[in-house]
């Protein structure tokens, strides 16, 4: 695992140093963010622990300097282990177990983003993505797994700032916060909406 983090650090450093100085218009930009996500609403009944194992990405085409459209995706991993306790089942039986909930989500979104001040040193932006979400739900009763995959609706409004490596350049650092609306239902899971915040890099692919 430590090796993985080192490789990630080296690769991200590589992305930082690969600045290409062109404007956004007519360009395809990739934005990759490490993300921290906190469950909210009913999702907290299943998992209330913040995840430090998520990322978000978008591939956006600049229609003009301010507006870009494209695709958004990501990966969120939520996990929580509950201490041993006795659960009463519908048939009257009692089961003593350590319960573990593990949920992963991969959104695939159509995304639009608006940059308020494309030429400044710090560029605030807002965006929204709407689409679907692949959810892998796994619940372990002790070591015994009950799993289910579902595909459902997802929406991801976000806001952040883009700080180019040099003024007017297309590559730089992004700081962002988003809300992941995911109204998925399965067993005890009634929605897995969450707040996210992260840091990443943006760079053109052309």
């Amino acid at each position: 695992m430590k090796t993985s983090y080192k490789i990630i650090a080296v690769l991200i450093a590589g992305l930082f140093t690969a600045g290409v100085t062109q404007a956004q218009e007519g360009r395809l930009n990739l934005n990759i963010n490490y993300s921290i996500n906190t469950p909210t609403g009913n999702f907290k009944d299943v998992i209330d622990k913040t995840s430090y194992r998520s990322w978000a990405a978008s591939l956006l085409y600049g229609i003009n300097d301010k507006l870009s459209i494209g695709l958004g995706t990501g990966f969120q991993d939520f996990y929580q282990k509950y201490p041993r306790q006795v659960y009463k089942l519908d048939d009257g039986s009692d089961i003593s177990a350590v319960l573990t909930n593990s949920i992963q989500a991969i959104p695939v979104l159509a995304q639009v983003q608006y940059n308020f001040t494309p030429q400044s040193a710090i560029q605030p932006y807002v965006g929204v993505g709407v689409g679907g979400n692949l959810v892998l739900y796994r619940q372990y009763v002790g070591e015994f797994e009950n799993s289910k995959s579902k595909f459902g609706f997802a929406a991801r409004p976000e806001a952040g700032i883009f700080v180019p490596f040099r003024k007017g350049g297309p590559s730089g650092i992004t700081l962002r916060a988003d809300y992941n609306y995911m109204p998925v239902k399965y067993n005890d899971l009634d929605g897995m909406s969450n707040w996210g915040a992260g840091i990443g890099v943006k760079f053109p692919l052309q």
Binding site: M1, S4, I7, I8, L11, I12, G14, L15, A18, V20, L30, I32, Y34, R53, S54, W55, A57, F75, D77, Y79, K81, R84, V86, L89, D91, G92, S93, D94, I95, S96, A97, V98, T100, S102, Q104, R138, Y140, V141, G142, E143, F144, E145, N146, F203, P204, L205, Q206
Partner: protein, 211 residues
């Protein structure tokens, strides 16, 4: 060339981040892996029983076949722990020839098929491996209420059944009144046997004698 390298780097970062899933099974200790399941006949009055007897060996059931009876150090530890705990619950240990109110069967089950917390008639599958003759009722059938669920088993399980012998003569049937099932890693470790019995009875607070 630069954009190709960037894309490859980006894909690699995404892939590595995606591999950071926290795997539940890698974060479970052996103790945490085990589950303890109990169920009972809700019409049974456990305080009405005063005596019990327990089998002197354990039936070994593998892939739905009775392999035979055995008494390993583990089996003996389970039987001893059961004797101790049931006496703590207020029941008197007697030999099976002394007309016990409750008979206790112990089974080790080994199966290879998988499944989780489903209930396809567990007792319906296994009760018959204990000959009613053992309890002095040759020719009688076993009767188990429909609530007795079953669990499909991925590896080994320890199963303990409590039988109502007190009313068997009148009802011409040996009725199951309680079941305890232990599944997970380390189920058959001798040093865990006492803890299995403790866990099963700790969650079955109704299982005590009125005497």
């Amino acid at each position: 060339m630069k954009s190709i390298l960037l894309t490859i780097s980006a894909a690699a970062v995404m892939g590595l981040l995606g591999s950071c899933t926290k795997e539940p099974l890698n974060n479970l200790t052996e103790d945490e892996s085990r589950i303890y399941i109990t169920n009972r006949d809700s019409s049974a009055n456990f305080s009405s029983y005063t005596t019990f007897s327990i089998v002197d060996s354990v039936s070994v059931i593998s892939n739905n076949r009775l392999e035979g009876k055995d008494i390993t150090a583990y089996d003996a530890a389970v039987i001893d722990a059961l004797k101790t705990r049931l006496q703590q619950q207020g029941y008197t240990l007697v030999s099976k020839s002394q007309s016990p109110d409750i008979g206790i069967n112990v089974s080790r089950i080994y199966n290879t098929y998988s499944g989780i917390v489903s209930y396809p008639d567990y007792w319906g599958s296994y009760y018959g491996y204990w000959d009613p003759f053992y309890w002095g009722y040759p020719g009688y059938g076993y009767g188990f209420p429909t609530w007795y669920g079953s669990y499909q088993i991925t590896e080994g399980a320890l199963s303990i059944d409590a039988l109502d012998l007190k009313d068997a003569g009148a009802e011409k049937q040996i009725k199951g009144v309680w079941m305890g099932l232990v599944r997970g890693s380390g189920v058959f470790r001798t040093q865990n046997a006492a803890n299995h019995i403790k866990s099963l009875f700790d969650q079955s607070t109704y299982f005590k004698s009125g005497q």
